[in-house]
Symmetry: C4
């Protein structure tokens, strides 16, 4: 498999990819990776697709930095305290912050929780099965990113089986045990946000009330018979 | 024409392309190629766009593998029994599994069959003409991919002129006599799924009731006269 | 400016670009370039993004070919007689055939003509101004591409100021005096097809009834005054 | 950070990127950069993604050019007087003109002002906070680009806190203190235009009437409590 040993290089490449997908336009969004006792962060307010590895901050888990970029004008990402909360409260190895328009639109069609069921892509989220109802908490946005910390921490604690917290009218924080899982989670969640909004536009419920037994019975009767 | 002799290299390149098109995000989706008595499969649960040729499994038609990747942590794709069913029941040379959101949305606007007619892209499917009604069976999804095998086999047998089976809320399996035909079929079907949902949103019927004669008469009268 | 002297190379690069834009998926679509008395065509039924320059046919204006690809299995594009009609009836230097879903959807929301007005991108079409009503004829599709020839020729003759003919449920033929103009026309028309369908979905008329004088009067009164 | 000292090279690379995003198709759109007393412009009516640095004009702030491209067939962009107005009236270091379909659609759902509030991406615009109502003036289009100058100047003067002017049925002019800020502004505005049209399609108001206090009260009560 293609990959990188150096978390700085991985962050730079993931940011380019996320920018191309619309998750990190306008200097928004980003990604952080933990390697043992060290956490790597992008700088604040820079074009995420134009970074190179020497722009990345290396910090301790307590937030103090051990290595800053050579360019002293760069400041640590305003998301760092949010990323740090995830590392502290969950055994995460990487955290992705996305401004994907799919995430933002998903927060506009739901209340305090985003819920979907019976979509295959849910199975890309650790511990989620096809017949489960997948729930992601939605917190209200704040004027400044650092003010989000308390709400994010409460939501993380309140939803121990979720790997994401949506922020209304803002985006989403997503994590995994390493960068590959965080990336897989981010791709699956984003797909599900997109699918949910499309289903909403078709007038369809996002959570199927029919259980597994009903579905299976139905499909045994009929699914493969031409007519 | 640009192509590859080595099916491992072809799988790797097709997966990168399919990932970029949104057919294989979140480690989902994939492609398998048959070369004579050998079948080549991607590993399970890995980022499909980050594979290299040494990650590909080489198996016999009966499913037993003759060469596994050097990385012993890699496991054979959970789709392998599904791909194998297509090779057994049809004389296919390649099978593509896509999680395209167009395929999933198409399964949400139809019943046990997906039907369209009078769209030029139908002609990219072997044996289908512009005035035909193109039918693809839709099977219900299951909790585990391997449980889909029976339903998929029934659908393949019941619809001998289809080159695809849609799986509700999941995606689609598509095949062709070689990888180029499977790719062409996949691109045409995906376009048709997309077009069908757009037509549905416009309130248009997916199958034209007007036959060829009516259309031709109409167009003879009028099609090229300005007004 | 970046460009190519060799029309074979230009065709190959344009096809890759058009494939990436969704205009030539599933082996559909294509481009032809005329250079003096010679016309260059892509082969039929091949993946347009995988061609190399040696796959291109070189023909005379009467359709007879002077140089076929080394690969003798390749056949001349089924679109060749359609492209040839454009070269004969208009002084075109290049013709683009696109299966863009925007073009197909545009044919589903209009009758025998596609009409828009007051969109800046119309000005990218030779001879069209912002306050004009831009008209493109729409012909009905046929079961076989070669049967389209008569309808296409009638439409080209009937609409001498159009640089495109839409084919219902199929796509569009677009031309220009050289490949750069054909490409510009194709990009502008495609944008206008997309915009028209979006406007239709918003319930807006595609042709503004208000003339230039009314608009200017309105804007003089008000356009830049904050409120 | 990855960047360029030569504004010609920066213009060429930004144009390629903007073309890929659909902001500069059909030779439309473009970008200009100011460096001290010099302003750099792209040529008129050329494919913006095919330029190389030698195609760029170097002019004085008064509009007179000091260095024209080697290719004497190239003419200065018709947007130059519009770009020049922005340099004169604002202390801008770069101006971007985009034909993005998101910008055009945004002008079709609003009157003389485009207004949104409470979307995180607004914070990418200099001086705009999450609870502000962000306002962009919309001017009516004209038959010829140079006729837009007066309207643009009036709008720029009337809205001193905006970094963009929308042109109805045409596109948008966006600027910043340097090319990085202009690019950030352009990406954020484009996202907001897209989001606004999607919200309009969902039947949602673009400006939230609930103020910050109400939202905060609501979220304190409830945001992180599962139910």
């Amino acid at each position: 498999m293609i990959g990188h040993e150096d978390p700085r290089q991985t962050i730079v490449e993931l940011c380019r990819r996320f920018y191309a997908q619309g998750w990190a336009s306008g200097t928004g969004g980003g990604v952080s990776i933990r390697q043992g006792e060290r956490v790597f962060y992008a700088p604040s307010g820079v074009a995420k697709e134009l970074m190179d590895p020497s722009d990345i901050f290396e910090c301790r888990l307590d937030g103090s930095c051990v290595a800053a970029p050579a360019d002293s004008s760069l400041k640590l990402s305003a998301c760092a305290p949010l990323f740090q909360s995830v590392y502290e409260l969950r055994d995460a190895g990487a955290v992705i912050h996305s401004h994907s328009i799919h995430a933002v639109m998903a927060t506009l069609i739901c209340g305090r929780e985003f819920r979907v069921s019976q979509l295959e892509m849910m199975k890309g989220i650790r511990g989620v099965g096809f017949y489960d109802t997948m729930i992601i908490p939605v917190i209200e946005n704040t004027a400044y990113e650092e003010e989000l910390v308390d709400r994010l921490r409460l939501a993380i604690k309140a939803y121990p089986s979720a790997y994401a917290v949506l922020v209304r009218r803002h985006g989403v924080y997503i994590w995994g045990q390493d960068w590959l899982e965080a990336k897989r989670h981010a791709e699956c969640y984003d797909y599900l946000f997109d699918a949910a909004v499309r289903m909403h536009n078709l007038g369809m419920p996002l959570v199927e009330s029919q259980g597994m037994a009903a579905f299976d019975a139905m499909s045994k009767e009929s699914s493969a018979s031409p007519k």
